[in-house]
């Protein structure tokens, strides 16, 4: 069993353990969960440091690291041949960042759930199940395996929102569930189609191997997704249709405008730790999926659709930011700001320049820390007074100076203050998008300028919020009662916040920490995609 598999299945083991521990010892659950997450974090950090940055991965199996491949399902389907699914996992530049991010955010989420006392057994075992699924998604190299992890991710989230959420939790959970399911059901069709189009060049059998799907030579002539591209479905080229379907599935996760409306509801209703996980990692599954699946398997279509993807990115940036400006609920504001910030990811990916693509990856990691931090901060006041309407607070700066300092840092880091990670991410996404017209002609330059306006708007809504909630004379809706309950951040909360501030700073000051890991993969992906012309 490789290190990678240990990383993936450790939480599953812990979840089983939690199920076995009787409820009388329920205080143990959180320690167990925190312990496992901490071990995972160490493991992930070890893998991060020992990752060989010269190996590109992407479509070449020999440059993947920590690879493990075992036969999993062998089913004889009679006339259809035999169904072969492998347990096939490995790490390249695109996944290594997310492994670390996942371990970190999961740990933070466990610490953020310290005060959960409603059915802790269920909560923590679901949390750990989710942990396993997300880890799996980021390393699966077999489409079937990827799909299984992808779907397994959905279940615990549904329950975590639907049971431990706020007042309209069931509505939000169902909405989230149906939205995502809608995306993934069609993904399943494409997956099956790909299976029958691609053969393993060694054995000659059909295969779910993602890497084989990335090589045009492995497609059977005349198969539905063959690279010649003459197969049509409903009057549309089959490859284009498949690309669109996959794109929509991942775009819902990202989320893009107009497929984003599950996000504000899910965030607002979800308990704090789940918001942290949602924003911190799950949105990244969308971006990761686009890179790993959409772009790598359908590079020809990706090139043709770059303009549209870039446009969607710009629209998401601006639309999300403008919506955030109109919010009165702090959590909803942060949710819309996520939509806006994730728009940069699309813009960067669409540019297909090293700067843009690296910027997009960096943005995902950076947004991982920062949005987790933002939601955690929102959770802090919500925990205390069960209210988070912006207008119900004023002048918190005098009462809660440390809290205000953390909020200010998180806000300024998110709006792209140099020194913090988001600055590097957004600046290079913009530069890359701008560069695209000269390098490959994929995006017009005005898109970069449009994205830049998003940076301005994000400053507007964050600063306005600071002004309204934290500065000025103290005035609270709940009066003295709130005043007594609104204590400054405590030790546990500081323990979570400080490392995130440090990470955001560290990545902002030393971007090479991330760029060096992904550089080879980014270049190799660009070569793969632009080679499809």
């Amino acid at each position: 069993m490789s290190l990678l598999s240990v990383l993936i299945f450790l939480p599953l083991l812990a979840a089983l353990l939690i199920l076995l521990v009787p409820s009388a010892y329920k205080a143990l659950y959180k320690y167990l969960a925190a312990g496992v997450s901490a071990v995972q974090l160490l493991l992930a950090a070890y893998m991060y440091t020992s990752f060989d940055e010269k190996l590109a991965g992407v479509s070449a199996i020999d440059s993947y690291q920590f690879v493990e491949k075992l036969p999993w399902i062998r089913l004889n389907l009679g006339s259809l041949g035999s169904l072969e699914v492998d347990y096939f996992v490995g790490v390249d530049g695109f996944s290594i960042l997310f492994l670390f991010l996942t371990a970190l955010v999961m740990f933070v989420a466990v610490v953020a759930s310290w005060k959960i006392d409603k059915q802790p057994k269920g909560f923590f075992s679901l949390l750990l199940l989710l942990n396993m699924a997300v880890m799996g998604v980021f390393v699966a190299l077999d489409f079937f395996l990827f799909y299984v992890f992808y779907e397994v991710m959905l279940l615990p989230l549904y329950f975590l929102i639907g049971i431990w959420g706020g007042a309209r939790r069931e509505y939000a959970a169902m909405k989230f569930f149906l939205y995502t399911l809608f995306g993934s059901v069609f993904m399943l069709l494409v997956m099956v189609g790909l299976y029958f189009s691609v053969i393993d060049p060694v054995t000659g059998n059909h295969t779910f191997n993602l890497l084989h799907m990335m090589d045009g030579k492995n497609y059977l002539d005349g198969s539905i997704f063959s690279v010649s591209g003459d197969y049509q479905l409903f009057g549309i080229a089959a490859r284009l249709l498949a690309f669109i379907v996959l794109f929509i599935a991942f775009a819902i996760k990202v989320p893009i405008v107009p497929l984003h409306t599950w996000l504000p509801d899910a965030h607002v209703e979800a308990p704090t730790p789940i918001s942290i996980i949602l924003a911190g990692i799950l949105l990244k599954v969308g971006g990761y999926g686009m890179i790993r699946i959409c772009y790598s398997i359908f590079p020809d279509i990706a090139l043709d659709s770059a303009w549209w993807i870039g446009l969607i990115g710009v629209i998401s940036i601006l639309y999300g930011a403008l919506n955030a400006l109109a919010q009165q609920d702090l959590k909803r504001l942060v949710a819309y700001s996520s939509v806006s910030h994730m728009g940069f990811v699309l813009l960067g990916i669409a540019s297909l320049t090293p700067e843009g693509l690296s910027g997009a990856m960096f943005q995902m990691v950076s947004h991982g820390f920062l949005s987790a931090m933002l939601f955690f901060l929102v959770g802090i006041i919500y925990d205390r007074v069960h209210d988070r309407m912006i207008y119900n607070f004023r002048g918190l700066g005098t009462m809660m100076p440390k809290y205000t300092a953390f909020v200010a840092i998180a806000f300024f880091a998110s709006l792209g203050l140099p020194g913090f990670s988001a600055f590097i991410a957004e600046a290079f996404t913009i530069i890359g998008a701008f560069n695209a017209e000269s390098v490959n002609g994929l995006l017009p330059r005005w898109m970069a300028i449009g994205g830049a306006i998003g940076i301005l708007l994000s400053a507007a809504y964050f600063l306005w919020t600071l002004q309204r909630m934290f500065f000025g004379e103290t005035r609270l809706k709940g009066g003295d009662e709130w005043k007594a309950r609104l204590t400054d951040v405590d030790g546990r909360e500081t323990f979570v916040l400080v490392p995130m501030v440090i990470l955001a700073l560290l990545f902002g000051l030393m971007p090479s920490l991330a760029f060096d890991k992904i550089n080879a993969s980014v270049l190799s992906l660009i070569e793969l995609v632009s080679g499809a012309k």
Binding site: G193, P418, A427, G472
Partner: protein, 685 residues
């Protein structure tokens, strides 16, 4: 760390300059409320000053020093971080430290006893670090970082008294307006990077830099294999200028600076008068080879207009700091004109002289405000300590402050023997000479500058006379007990230092001829200008003649109290007093519509985008319910199996029903299985 051994001494000194305030910042950040003393910050900036003096002595008119180290790589491009020391940055480093140190010393007295004093030193050190970093940065990316960080420090300091609503509105405004400029800067960077694949200042703008070597025939702008339509060069210039306009408060982005006066006065003197607001001018000089003729004309025109506009506003303001703020805007306009006419050395010269006398004016204003505040508190009066209508006759109580203010005021008005005389004359003379070579229409630039300098003399004379001459406006002050005192020594000494620096000897042995100043000689002069002798005598005479007339009028009106009552309070007066109604226009033209759009978009998001989703879900649910009803009423009992399935499907789609979670799971897998099956059927060969 093999690079460490190769660091040259000036670079090491530059690192000391940079790190001293950073360490002080770190100390303050860690210690928090426990560190209320300003000594660490002051010591830090003193160390920076010493190192800066050393750098200046080594680098000025000597070899340019440039060292860098690899920072990070993206794709095949490597981004470096480094330090670039040449005449421009060495001078600016020295200037920033030389202004910051007196301001620190002054602040120790001025800010004494303030509740949040620990934050004050924290922010101030951050500012110094960012400003010094901006000056010595060797690449556009690093410059941009310093650029934004000074804006951030300025945000923190404007909002230092964060319980005051005006202060937190002002700092938000300042940051947002500066953000608009930052976008320009960022877009400029993107254009440069696209064209030249590097952001290194030396490689780009050096003597044989890429920008100079690039080919441009008006249609195509080409360097090596990279080409863009030529208009992008103009756009790049405009984008960087946009950045400079916001930072250096040029029309129409000047509106943040007057509001920024909500910060402590010591901060206004350092950041919003002497250093940060001049960063735009510095940046334009740093990248000057980039500008083509159109952009230079634009810079000149905007600068001249801003200078005039701000001067007209300063005429009627009543808040002592607002007058000085508009004066700063106006003087920055002068510097912009100098850049627009290609006289970069002169622009920097005026930047330096202005830094000293404007900083001094602010510190004097601070001393006065301090005393007025004191009077207000002891006499328990309801008055605005910054309103010059409440002052008057102060020269008897604060003679030293008065004398120093006078020196600074004369320098601002540009009268002989002061440093301001030299730099302002230089700009005016060059502007007239430059206009000779332009079409007649462009004469408006030097002429409007001349008018502006007359207005300048008037408004600063008005300030001095209203504050220091006449009788005290508060009746209690004149009688018996002495409520007003001279500023304490801790404040006067730094002011004295600045006062000395506002006089000519620091810059030239010849008090009347700017051409002998060493700063201008330190920068290469453009060759295109031909010396037109007549301007070198007529212009100074005109400037000074006008100034003296204006000062005389102001003396009659404000010192002797012979103000022509009523006759001047017309529309123009209102227009000026209301700051040309620009704030109102911004509020009504931009802020309100933007908020409205955002509200409308949110409504759209809720009702249309989300509404569609909900309607879709509702429709499905209706079908499911119908199916269930049909199932119950008609089919049930006949085809049990089918009925069960429909119930499950209904369960999935019906939405919120407690306790049905296992159905959801089951039906989810059912759906997946069906789809898988269908897929197998369709795709199997």
């Amino acid at each position: 760390m093999d690079q460490l051994s190769q660091i040259s001494t000036p670079v090491l000194a530059a690192l000391i300059v940079l790190c001293a305030p950073l360490i002080s910042f770190g100390l303050s950040a860690i210690a928090g409320k426990r560190l209320r003393s300003g000594i660490p910050a002051t010591v830090a900036i003193a160390i920076s000053l010493l190192a800066a003096i050393f750098i200046f002595a080594t680098v000025w008119n000597g070899q340019q020093v440039h060292q860098q180290t690899s920072w990070f790589r993206i794709g095949e491009h490597s981004f470096k971080a480094g330090i670039l020391l040449n005449n421009l940055s060495a001078l600016l480093l020295l200037l920033v430290c030389a202004i910051a140190l007196p301001v620190h010393v002054y602040s120790m007295v001025y800010m004494k006893g303030d509740y949040g004093i620990h934050r004050y030193w924290l922010y101030l050190s951050l500012f110094c670090f960012a400003m010094l970093g901006l000056v010595m940065a060797d690449s556009l990316l690093l410059m941009y970082i310093g650029w934004e960080l000074v804006g951030f420090a300025s945000y923190l300091l404007i909002g230092f008294w964060f319980t005051r609503p005006a202060a937190i509105k002002a700092n938000k405004k300042a940051f947002l307006i500066n953000r608009i400029g930052d976008l320009g800067f960022l877009i400029g960077i993107a254009i440069i990077y696209t064209q030249f694949q590097t952001l290194d200042l030396v490689a780009l703008f050096g003597d044989h830099g890429m920008v100079r070597e690039a080919f441009n025939d008006g249609v195509e702008w080409r360097y090596a294999q990279h080409a863009m339509p030529a208009f992008w060069l103009t756009i790049a210039g405009a984008a960087f200028f946009l950045g400079a306009m916001a930072k250096s408060a040029q029309f129409p982005f000047h509106i943040w600076l007057p509001d920024a006066m909500e910060g402590p006065t010591s901060v206004s003197s350092l950041i919003h008068a002497a250093t940060m607001v001049a960063a735009g001018v510095f940046m334009l000089v740093r990248i000057s080879p980039l500008f083509d003729a159109q952009i230079l004309l634009l810079i000149g025109a905007i600068g001249a207009f801003t200078a005039l506009m701000a001067a007209t506003i300063a005429l009627t303001q009543q808040d002592i700091k607002k007058i000085l703020a508009f004066s700063t805007i106006s003087q920055l306009g002068f510097m912009m004109v100098a850049i627009g006419i290609g006289q970069y050395g002169v622009a920097i010269f005026h930047l330096v002289t202005h830094a000293f006398f404007k900083c001094l004016l602010f510190l004097s204003a601070g001393a006065v405000i301090h005393e007025m505040q004191h009077v207000k508190e002891t006499l328990k009066l309801e008055l605005d300590p910054q309103d010059i209508r409440n002052m008057g006759g102060l020269r008897r109580y604060m003679p030293h402050t008065f004398r120093l203010t006078l020196v600074a005021a004369l320098a601002l008005a540009g009268l002989p023997l002061t440093a301001g005389y030299l730099s302002k004359d230089a700009i005016l003379i060059f502007a007239f000479e430059w206009a000779e070579w332009q079409s007649a229409w462009w004469k408006f630039i030097p002429v409007s500058l001349l008018v502006t300098s007359a207005l300048t003399a008037f408004y600063i004379a008005r300030l001095v006379f209203k504050v220091f001459y006449g009788k005290p406006r508060i009746s209690a002050i004149g009688q018996g007990t002495n409520y007003l005192h001279e500023a304490p020594r801790g404040m006067l000494l730094p002011m004295l230092f600045l006062g000395l620096c506002s006089l000519f000897p620091l810059f030239s042995y010849n008090p009347l001829l700017f051409e002998d100043t060493w700063i201008i000689k330190g920068f290469e002069l453009p060759e295109t200008l031909e010396r037109v002798n007549i301007y070198h005598t007529v212009v100074p005479a005109a400037v000074n003649g006008l100034a003296i007339v204006m000062i005389f009028i102001a003396w009659r009106w404000y010192a002797q109290g012979k103000y022509p009552q009523g006759s001047l309070r017309g529309r123009l007066y209102e227009f000026s007093a209301a700051q040309w109604y620009l704030n109102v226009m911004y509020e009504k033209g931009i802020v309100k519509p933007l908020l409205k759009v955002s509200k409308m978009l949110y409504a759209f998001d809720r009702t249309i985008v989300d509404g569609l989703v909900d309607t879709g879900a509702g429709t499905v649910r209706w079908f499911a319910n119908t199916a269930q009803w049909l199932d119950r009423a008609l089919v049930d009992g006949l085809v049990n199996g089918v009925g069960k399935a429909a119930v499950f499907a209904g369960g999935v789609l019906r939405g919120s029903r407690k306790g049905k979670i296992q159905y959801y799971l089951f039906s989810m897998f059912l759906v997946l299985l069906i789809v898988l099956f269908v897929g197998l059927k369709i795709f199997s060969p």
